[in-house]
Amino acid sequence: MSGLLRLVGVGLALLLAQALVHLMLPVAVQPDLVLVYALAMGLRGGGLQGLLLAFGAGFIEDVLSGSPPGLFALLCGTACAATRLLDRALYLRAAAPWATYVGVYALANFALCGLALKSFAPAAALPWELLVVRAPGSAVLTALCAAPLLGLFRRLLVEADRDGSWPVLATQSSRGRP
C-alpha cells in the first residue's frame, strides 16, 4: 500500500510544482509536469492502477483549470496508455530515450489537445497557430524535467508492484519485468 501512496504523493507534489511553474515561468516555456506523471504511470507495462492515477491527475488538473471538463483527464489517460504500448519497443529505461520520448509525446499532446477541443468542445477550441508557437519550448522543458524523474518513477513503480499495493487491479503483465 505504501508504494501506491507514494505514487499518489508524487502526483500531488507534481501538481503543486505545476502551480508554481505557472506562477514563475512564461507560458511558452512552461513544462507540463502532470503529463510527465501520466506518461510515467504507463512505464513497466503500466497496470490498471497507473491508468486510474493518470486519469485522476488529469481530472484534478481539469478541476483546477478553466478547461472543458474531461480534457486533461482524457489527455493524461491517453498518454499513460501510449507509454504502456511503447515502453518496451522504445526501451524507456534510460534517461535519454525517456526524455526524448517525453519531448516528442509533449509535441503530439499539443496536437491531441487541439483535436480533442475541435472535436468535443469547439467553443473552447484553441487556434492552431497558438499551439504551434507554444509547443516547442514547452516540449523541450517538459523533456528536461522528465529526465531526472525517471529513476524515481521506476523505483516507486517497482515498490508498488512488489508490495501489491492494489492487488485487485494490478495487471499480471507488469510482474517480473526489469
Partner: protein, 353 residues
C-alpha cells in the same frame, strides 16, 4: 467471457474512461454548480496549493516592489507628464458630469444606480497554460450564481463559470471560451472581444472601415446577457487593417492585470437569457400577419414563467470602472456564455436613456 474481459480489461477501462471524458467535454453546458467530485477535489487541493503558492507570490511581490526598480526615474518623469494631462482631462470630465447631472434632474430620469456586489479574494490561478481562469473564496453561500459578471475597480475580469458553497470558478475574459460584446468609447465601433489564451484578447467582427486607433478605450455594450453596460474592458493595443475581407482585427490589452489580481467583485445581478417564448412573442409583434401553427399558438399563449426566487440582499457598492452613460450602438452581437444555447434572434434593445 470473464477470461476475455480480464485479458482486455486495460483497453476496456481506457475506452470507458476516455468515453466518459469525451462525453463530459461534449455535454458542457452553461456555467453551473460544480458536482460532488470537483468540489471534493477543490476542497482537498486548494489549501495545499495555497500553502505553496502564497509564499511564492509574496516573494514575487518583494522582488517587484524593492529589487526590480530599474528605470523607475524615467517612468516617474513620464508619469508626471501623464498626470498633468489627466488632471486637465479630469477637470473637463467633472464639468461634463455636472452638466449630465443637471440634465438628469431636469428630465426626471433615474437616479444614479447602485449595483449589489460581493467582494472576494483570489485564491487560485489556472493550472494549465491554455486556459485562463481563477478561483475566488466566495461561492453560492454568498449569493453567487454561475453566469454572474466579475469585475475590479480597473475593469471587467470575467464571469462565474461554476460555484461551490464556499468558492467559485471565474472564467477570465482572456480565456478562449470567453466572448464580450464591446464598443470603442471614442467612435462607438462595435465588436466582440475574444480571449486568445494569452495576456491579451482579440477584438473581432469590427467593420474594416471603422475608425479604431491604438489606445482607444473599450467598454462593454450591455447588449449581451452577462455584463452591464459601460464597464471598461481594455484598450486597443494594435490594429491590423487587412487588405481584403469585411472585418479588421485588433489586439486588446485588458484593463485588468490578471497576473496580479488579488481582490475582485462579483456583481449579483444576473441578466436573463431570453427564452424562445420571448423571441416568438417578439416575432409576432414584428410580423402580425404571419400564420401560426397550432402548437406554436399554444406555446405562446402559455402563462409567463414565474420570476426566480429572491436572493439574499447583499450590501450595495457603487459600480467601479463604469464610464459615463453613452448612446446605445446599433444592432447587437450577444455575449457568449460558454456552452450555452444561443438564441436565434437578436437580443431586444435596452431602453434608451
Amino acid at each position: 467471457m470473464s477470461e476475455l474481459l480480464r485479458r482486455f480489461r486495460y483497453g476496456l477501462s481506457y475506452f470507458a474512461l476516455a468515453s466518459l471524458c469525451a462525453l463530459a467535454m461534449a455535454s458542457q453546458h452553461a456555467p453551473r454548480e460544480l458536482g460532488f467530485a470537483p468540489r471534493l477535489v477543490l476542497n482537498l487541493t486548494l489549501p495545499l496549493e495555497r500553502m505553496v503558492t502564497v509564499p511564492v507570490s509574496e516573494l514575487r511581490g518583494v522582488w517587484g516592489d524593492y529589487v526590480a526598480l530599474v528605470g523607475v526615474r524615467e517612468e516617474n518623469e513620464r508619469l508626471r507628464g501623464s498626470l498633468a494631462r489627466a488632471e486637465e482631462e479630469n477637470h473637463q470630465y467633472r464639468e461634463a458630469i455636472l452638466s449630465s447631472e443637471r440634465f438628469q434632474k431636469l428630465s426626471g430620469f433615474r437616479a444614479q444606480r447602485e449595483i449589489p456586489m460581493v467582494p472576494a479574494n483570489v485564491i487560485h490561478q489556472d493550472l494549465s497554460a491554455w486556459f485562463q481562469s481563477l478561483i475566488i473564496d466566495q461561492g453560492a453561500a454568498a449569493g453567487i450564481r454561475p453566469g454572474m459578471p466579475v469585475i475590479t475597480d480597473s475593469g471587467v475580469v470575467g464571469l462565474v463559470s461554476g460555484t461551490t458553497p464556499g468558492a467559485s470558478k471565474v472564467l477570465l475574459i482572456v480565456d478562449p471560451q470567453s466572448r464580450v460584446d464591446a464598443y470603442v468609447e471614442r467612435t462607438r465601433a462595435r465588436g466582440t472581444v475574444r480571449g486568445n489564451s494569452g495576456h491579451e484578447a482579440d477584438f473581432e467582427y469590427v467593420l474594416r472601415q471603422e475608425n479604431i486607433e491604438e489606445g482607444d478605450l473599450l467598454l462593454t455594450s450591455g447588449l449581451g446577457t452577462v455584463y452591464p453596460k459601460g464597464l471598461v474592458v481594455g484598450r486597443v493595443a494594435s490594429v491590423d487593417r487587412k487588405t481584403s475581407g469585411l472585418f479588421l482585427s485588433a489586439r486588446i490589452a485588458p484593463a485588468v492585470d490578471f497576473t496580479r489580481l488579488e481582490e475582485v467583485f462579483v456583481i449579483l445581478e444576473q441578466r436573463q437569457i431570453p427564452d424562445e417564448e420571448a423571441f416568438s412573442a417578439a416575432d409576432e409583434g414584428l410580423w402580425p400577419s404571419a400564420p401560426k401553427k397550432p402548437s406554436e399558438a399554444t406555446a405562446s399563449a402559455a402563462p409567463p414563467k414565474p420570476a426566480p426566487a429572491a436572493k439574499p440582499k447583499p450590501k450595495t457598492v457603487p459600480a467601479p470602472a463604469a464610464a459615463p452613460p453613452a448612446p446605445t450602438p446599433p444592432e447587437a452581437l450577444p455575449e457568449v456564455i460558454p456552452g450555452a444555447p444561443q438564441p436565434a434572434a437578436p437580443a431586444p434593445e435596452e431602453p434608451q436613456e
